[in-house]
Amino acid sequence: MLAKRNDNWGLFQPWRTVGDLHKEFLGLFDELSEGFNRFRASYPKLNLNEDEKEIVIQMALPGYNSDQIEIEVVSNFLVIRGERSGPELGKGERFLHQERSFGKFEESIKLPSKVKSSKVKAKLVDGILTITMPKLEEEKAQTIKITE
């Protein structure tokens, strides 16, 4: 092992990039240093679906517990607040790379129609928050027949 480690010592490679150094020192290398700039690491944050009866909003909240999320419905506005803290480093641990974000967020969404605030339901499964909001009667489409 030592011999192998020593292999590079005599080599001077001025063209070596930080990425290469990264690779050697971290022992782990992917798009982390190169490709991360090419295509940003992400996931879809929000999804809104509606039919004539209800509006369903899905929000990606990985690593959150239900007590870290607050949901408010006022008229046709939906407010989602949350906070999560980053991984705690134990003794001898250090970050080599960080892409995930932490802290507080607040998202206000204007809903396409008014909803029954008292009937709104929310659940958190596998890091996806699903909020189901039944629409107010008056907002539902009514078919009107023409009478002669």
Partner: protein, 109 residues
């Protein structure tokens, strides 16, 4: 959540990752909201760790899928990689080989 069986097309995302080093190895933490155990596929082939996670989340008629590849050094003991999925966060523990770990040598007076 169940993974849809029949999906014609996927929408691939590269999940954001944190890398933490400790004396025993590397910790890889990825945000994969919507991913569940059944849809998770992790394999190591010729020094590359390939990760695919199917979800039940849909965008239009396409299903969201997470995909990312990491290159591992030969210091990683691939036989003993462990994975844990919780609340849409995937934790991977990549232990270093015993010989690659740092051993502090005490100087005796």
């Amino acid at each position: 959540m169940a993974v849809p069986q029949k999906v014609s097309e996927y929408l691939d995302f590269a999940p954001p990752a944190d890398v933490i080093e400790n004396p025993a190895g590397l910790k890889l933490v990825l945000d994969v909201p919507g991913a569940c155990k059944d849809g998770l596929n992790i394999n190591v082939e010729s020094g590359e760790l390939n990760l695919t996670a199917d979800t039940c989340v849909k965008r239009g008629d396409k299903a969201v899928r997470y995909k990312r590849t990491f290159q591992l050094s030969d210091q990683i003991d691939v036989q003993n990689i462990k994975a844990k999925l919780e609340n849409g966060v995937l934790n991977l523990m990549l232990p270093k080989h015993e010989h690659a770990r740092v051993h502090r040598v005490k100087i005796e007076a």
